[in-house]
Amino acid sequence: MRRLVLAAALIGAAVPCVALGAPPPGEPVPGMPQLAFGHPVQGRLLISHVVWLLIIFGLLYYVMARYALPQVGSVLEERRRRIEADLEAARAAKDSADRAVAEHEAATARARAEAQAAIAAALQQAQAEAAARTEALNARLDSQIQEAEKRIAAARDAAMGALRQVAAETADALVARLIGRADRKAVERAVERELAARGRA
């Protein structure tokens, strides 16, 4: 690149030297040479260099419009398309990544929910089993308790039955000893009354 700039500078410096190598016009040019349309040499050159200007500018326009600018434009367009395509690809990649993340999250959530459901079911089952066992145990205990109560009640009834007889006999014996005779029937009635009064009938 440096060599290129050097070459351009050399050409730029050398060519005008060649241009100035031509001899200056014989007749002096009064005033501004740009306005010396009346001068025999300058006047002619002023007109001719405008004609050449039109030709050269036309050439520049043709080359620019036909070759140079479309080429630069296509290069820029190519780059723009490439960048857009890359952006599009990046966007698509991001979308798919997002989708994958979402899927992964959904899967995780599903797995967690399943696990929780399984835990809950197991827990429930265990609780149900425990409840059933407890129930059975309770039932058995209840029945045992009832049986025991029944036995107790039978024993108490038996004891209560015995109590009346014992009380009647004791009272009869006491009365007999105290007063010399005993009316067994009256004693039994008195015992009966007394027991009823105490709620033990």
């Binding site: 690149m1 351009a8 730029g12 410096a13 060519v15 005008p16 030297c17 060649v18 241009a19 100035l20 031509a22 001899p23 200056p24 016009p25 040019v29 005033g31 501004m32 040479p33 740009q34 306005l35 300058q42 002619r44 050159l45 002023l46 007109i47 001719s48 260099h49 405008v50 004609v51 050449w52 200007l53 039109l54 050269i56 500018f57 050439l59 520049l60 326009y61 080359v63 620019m64 419009a65 070759y67 140079a68 600018l69 080429q71 630069v72 434009g73 296509s74 290069v75 820029l76 190519e78 780059r79 490439r82």
Partner: protein
């Protein structure tokens, strides 16, 4: 050539001289035209050769060519709008032609073809003819309504219409004289101060020291001329775009 006797000859640098020997003389091919050809060659080389590799990541030349393209493209689309795209090659050619003419003129021994009113006026005349033809082609007879803005009171017409016509006709004049005067003034100043350097440098012992002053000034002036060279090309191009906008949209 810089100083003959004690007069400063700042204008002889603008004299046209035929080049290419007898052939050039007979067809009136001057050093000015040679510089135009060099400019066209450089512009073409920059645009064609710079982007020949079609690199995705541009090198220096390609970046320069692309930024020139996008700069003028932005100018045209911003000023003229979407319809202005077909004028882009023209505005681009105009801008680059003037820019390279101005810049080439800053090289030693080089000739500044934009310092000739004949050249700048020809370019401005091309612009003027183009905008008039475009306006007539797009708007037909409605184009003449341009000289009398809608909504203005009718009794003002005798004043407004001549003013508008004069301002329209003065476009190529102002366009060409602006560029021409800027380039001439810059080069005359450079020449004058360069002559000072030579004249003061010959003065006794202190001469070379005093001569440093105009030399320093010339260095600054060259930098300023680079700015002017770009600015004037830009102004020419943007005014052309504004005129094209008027031609396409009629205000």
């Amino acid at each position: 050539m810089a100083a003959e006797g004690n007069t400063i000859d700042a204008l002889s640098q603008f004299i046209l001289v035929p080049v290419l020997g007898r052939v050039g003389e007979s067809v009136g091919f001057t050093q000015s035209n040679l510089h135009m050809l060099i400019a066209v060659g450089l512009i073409t080389a920059l645009m064609m050769w710079g982007t020949a590799k079609r690199a995705l990541i541009p090198g220096r030349m390609q970046a320069l060519a692309e930024s020139a393209y996008e700069f003028v493209h932005g100018l045209v689309t911003e000023q003229v709008g979407e319809k202005g795209k077909r004028f882009f090659p023209f505005v681009f050619s105009l801008f680059m032609f003037i820019l390279f003419g101005n810049m080439l003129g800053l090289f030693p021994y080089a000739f500044t073809y934009t310092s000739h009113i004949a050249v700048t006026f020809t370019l401005a005349a091309i612009v003027f003819v183009l905008i008039t033809v475009v306006a007539l082609a797009i708007h037909g007879r409605k184009f003449f309504g341009y000289f009398f803005p809608e909504g203005a009171p009718v009794w003002l017409a005798p004043i407004i219409v001549p003013v508008e016509i004069v301002s329209y006709l003065s476009r190529p004049v102002s366009l060409s004289i602006r560029l021409f005067a800027n380039m001439v003034a810059g080069h005359v100043m450079l020449k004058v101060f360069a002559s000072f350097v030579v004249m003061l440098g010959g003065l006794a012992v202190i001469g070379p020291f005093v001569a440093l002053l105009p030399l320093a000034l010339n260095v600054a002036l060259v930098a300023f001329e680079v700015l002017v060279a770009f600015l004037q090309a830009y102004v020419f191009a943007i005014l052309t775009c504004i005129y094209l906008h008027d031609a396409v949209h009629l205000h």
